[in-house]
């Protein structure tokens, strides 16, 4: 039994975009609609790297770049040639209940609100802040309650680095921690990114719908969302600015809004030309009318990649990662 459809697996963040493309692909080409599975970037890449052949997938979606170790284990299984395709960026936004207070954050606010311990008078003390006003007098006097991505989510890493660590450095806490621990930079970074465990910061292992449901149950909570999710739920959420910039596809594309991450998919070169429709699908995905700023992906909330043309070329030529 030979397979005649393209098989894709991986990130649930990329899934909506991939499914929009797959649907359009199925409508416009004679090839069958590709099957796009979710299951997470890691699981998708793991299956991608299992080897080549009909019973392995052709494309892995990932909400992060493939790691060194993964490339190695791919190679160990005979998956040597991988084409990396960056499809755009996922903006990460902070939003709260539409009927609640309005927030304008800086990374420093978040660091001071959520850090497990903050330096004070030359020692680390448990985070004493209970209200946003304690953190920054310009913020509303509202109990701190944050729904942040759980440790399974790649978004968590972005949140830690671009918000908590940035905030830590911004406030000068980083220097103080270095002083206290005698210059151990790794430990200091770790301390900056450690979140409190007293129930103020709630990890969410589920999806953005869960975060939304939690805000509905706890209207004073602030949640972390993907831009596209927020844009589909503007009737129940209001977004906070970060360092004075309101998140939108434009501000993220221009780099003004600081918190975002690139989204990718990876193609097994060995399958090109063998799995019917694979080449066509990959090219269709990065075509301007799909992934460009006016395409349906952007309409759904993907931040279009300013370097899309280069990507298109790479896909057309089948440029693999090593060659780049």
């Amino acid at each position: 039994q030979s397979r005649d459809n393209v098989q894709i697996a991986g990130s649930s963040t990329v899934l909506p975009y991939a499914s929009i493309v797959a649907e359009a692909f199925g409508e416009n080409f004679d090839f069958p609609t590709p099957v796009v599975e979710s299951g997470g970037s890691s699981a998708g890449l793991a299956r991608f790297c299992e080897g080549v052949g009909e019973n392995t997938i052709d494309i892995a979606n990932a909400s992060r770049a493939i790691r060194e170790g993964e490339v190695e284990s791919c190679a160990a299984n005979g998956v040597n040639e991988i084409i990396e395709v960056r499809i755009g960026y996922d903006g990460i936004v902070f939003a709260s209940d539409i009927d609640g207070e309005t927030f304008a954050f800086t990374p420093a606010d978040w660091y001071q609100a959520l850090a497990a311990e903050i330096p004070q008078d030359g020692a680390m003390v448990a985070n004493p802040n209970a209200s946003w006003a304690d953190v920054n007098s310009e913020l509303p006097d509202q109990e701190i309650l944050a729904f942040i991505p759980g440790t399974k989510h790649g978004t968590r890493e972005v949140f830690e680095e671009k918000v908590l660590l940035a905030g830590c450095e911004e406030t000068g806490a980083y220097e103080q921690i270095l002083e206290i621990n005698g210059g151990d930079e790794d430990a200091a970074e770790a301390a900056c990114m450690e979140t409190r465990t007293d129930g103020v910061s709630v990890d969410i292992d589920g999806d953005y719908t869960e975060t939304l449901a939690r805000i509905e149950a706890n209207p004073q909570g602030i949640g972390v969302f993907g831009l596209s999710f927020y844009e589909n739920n503007t009737d129940s959420l209001q977004v906070a600015t970060m360092s004075g910039v309101e998140p939108s596809t434009e501000t993220i594309a221009s780099g003004e809004y600081p918190v975002s991450r690139p989204l990718y998919f990876y193609i097994k070169k060995a399958h090109l030309g063998v799995i019917p429709g694979l080449q066509e699908f990959a090219e269709f995905f990065v075509a301007d009318e799909i992934a460009g700023p006016d395409g349906p992906l952007s309409a759904y909330g993907l931040v279009a990649d300013p370097e899309l043309a280069a990507t298109q070329e790479a896909v057309a030529n089948g440029t693999t990662m090593d060659a780049m």
Binding site: E37, S38, E50, E231, D235
Partner: protein, 454 residues
């Protein structure tokens, strides 16, 4: 029981004086009757609690999901301009097929502009913004129609197109004008248009068969998504589960309970089975991926594989309940059969099994219900995600072609951003429950037939 639990704890009453009237209940009996009533009340309360939860859950499901069964449609006249669709005018299907859905979008825009003019509503909306009223599936709908009847090119056809999820939500009352005002996707002007068209009978809400029979749609068009194909996936999986797990489970139980000698091997099997019941379902997914897909090279995302994985997961449930009910058949029945010269196998199949049937069926109901609602293992064998295949071509295809399953579809919808999917998720749950009820009905009727006290 240890010794004298009652009398040890409570003072002992002297035996009732003889000749007491039966019409007067003595104190001890009264106390015991109170205990009896309490006991019975606990039973009623327990049943009541269970029922109350069921009602609460069903209420939540129905109130959230019933709206998924209606859908809004817009009646639109679209000019199928020849210069756009068939430049050469030779009606060559290959060339017509070259025009992608993007080529149809302007036609629909034109149709909308016409309609706005015809209905005479003032609006400042750009033609492009007008398309937000319609589902993004509109172009594909139109294209399919043209490809099927190329002779339509050049005419103006009246088509019925799906309204977008937000328009649909507005018509269903799920989204109010106030909340839409804050929504970036739709403006008040759109709503004015919708109101006008509704009054003109051009926008209509009606029962949504496509939801029950259709396939999944991508994240950008919840209005098109249906659960039909996933239901078929579930059906094929359940067939596999039923065909395999019931006979295997019953066979294994019969062996263990009636034939197995007491030895190491049976002990190991026994421990294994109860242990398998405690294995998290996702681990069965890992197993399925490794064994069925990587080792046995069965196709990915196939209901057959899903069914096999769920079979392994359901087996312990069926085995444990079957063994329990085999155990409860009194030995005198077996003796009676053996005594007239039946073999052990005959005694079991003719007498013990029918008597154990209610328990077996209960185990099957529970096991199948569990299997029908399970998502986690499907995640690993590729049955969760966007698997919008159409209906399989045949029975064999049904087992092998990529498909999803109802719970996976529901899980997937529940995660999606557009709130319209949330409504579909609940609607899907209703369909799942109806499916489950239909499946159970047979088992329940059978069970009633087999039940008897002896």
């Amino acid at each position: 029981m240890t010794d004298i639990p009652q009398s040890g704890a409570t003072p002992v009453e002297p035996p009732a004086p003889k000749g007491d009237s039966l019409l007067v209940t003595d104190a001890r009996t009264k106390r015991r009757n109170r205990a009896e009533r309490r006991f019975k009340a606990y039973g009623i309360a327990a049943l009541g609690v269970g029922m109350a939860f069921l009602v609460a859950l069903l209420w939540a499901i129905l109130s959230n999901g019933l709206t998924a069964f209606t859908q809004s449609y817009v009646q639109l006249d679209v000019p199928l301009l020849e210069e756009k669709l068939d430049k050469d005018g030779d009606r060559d299907p290959a060339k017509i097929a070259k025009v992608s859905t993007f080529g149809y979008a302007p036609l629909i825009e034109a149709g909308l502009v016409d309609l706005v003019e015809k209905t005479g509503v003032e609006t400042e909306l750009e033609p492009k913004a007008l398309t937000k009223i319609l589902s993004s599936s509109a172009a594909a709908q139109l294209r399919d129609r043209v490809l099927a009847n190329p002779e339509l090119i050049g005419q103006t056809v009246s088509v019925e197109l799906l309204a977008s999820s937000r328009v649909d939500g507005y018509l269903k009352g799920r989204v109010s004008r106030a909340s839409l005002a804050r929504d970036k996707n739709l403006d008040a002007e759109h709503l004015d248009l919708i109101d006008a068209w509704r009054d003109a009978g051009l926008v209509e809400k009606r029962f949504n068969w496509d939801f029950i029979t259709g396939a999944d749609a991508s994240d950008s068009r919840p209005e098109q998504a249906g659960i039909g194909v996933a239901m078929l996936g579930s059906l094929f999986m359940m067939l596999v589960v039923l065909i395999l797990s019931l006979p295997i489970g019953v066979a294994a139980s019969i062996y263990l309970e009636e034939f197995a000698p007491q030895n190491r091997l049976t002990d190991i099997i026994e421990v294994n089975i109860s242990n398998l019941a405690a294995v998290p379902s996702i681990v069965f997914g890992i197993l399925g991926l490794a064994v069925f897909i990587q080792f046995m090279h069965l196709p990915q995302s196939a209901p057959l594989v899903g069914g096999l994985v769920l079979t392994l997961m359901t087996l312990p449930t069926i085995i444990i309940s079957t063994r329990a009910s085999l155990k409860s058949v009194p030995p005198s029945i077996r003796n009676a059969a053996l005594g007239v010269g039946a073999s052990k196998m005959q005694a079991v199949t003719h007498h013990v099994l029918p008597l154990a049937m209610p328990g077996i069926l209960t185990g099957t109901i529970l096991g199948l219900a569990q299997a029908l609602g399970e998502t986690a293992p499907l995640l690993l064998i590729g049955m969760v995600g966007y698997i919008a295949t159409n209906y399989p071509d045949g029975v064999a295809e049904g087992f092998l072609a990529p498909n999803s399953a109802m719970p996976a579809q529901i899980y997937e919808w529940a995660k999606r951003a557009d709130p319209a999917f949330y409504e579909r998720a609940w609607g899907g749950i209703i369909v799942l429950l109806v499916f489950l009820l239909a499946m159970n009905l047979i088992a329940v009727l059978l069970r009633r037939r087999f039940e008897r006290r002896w």
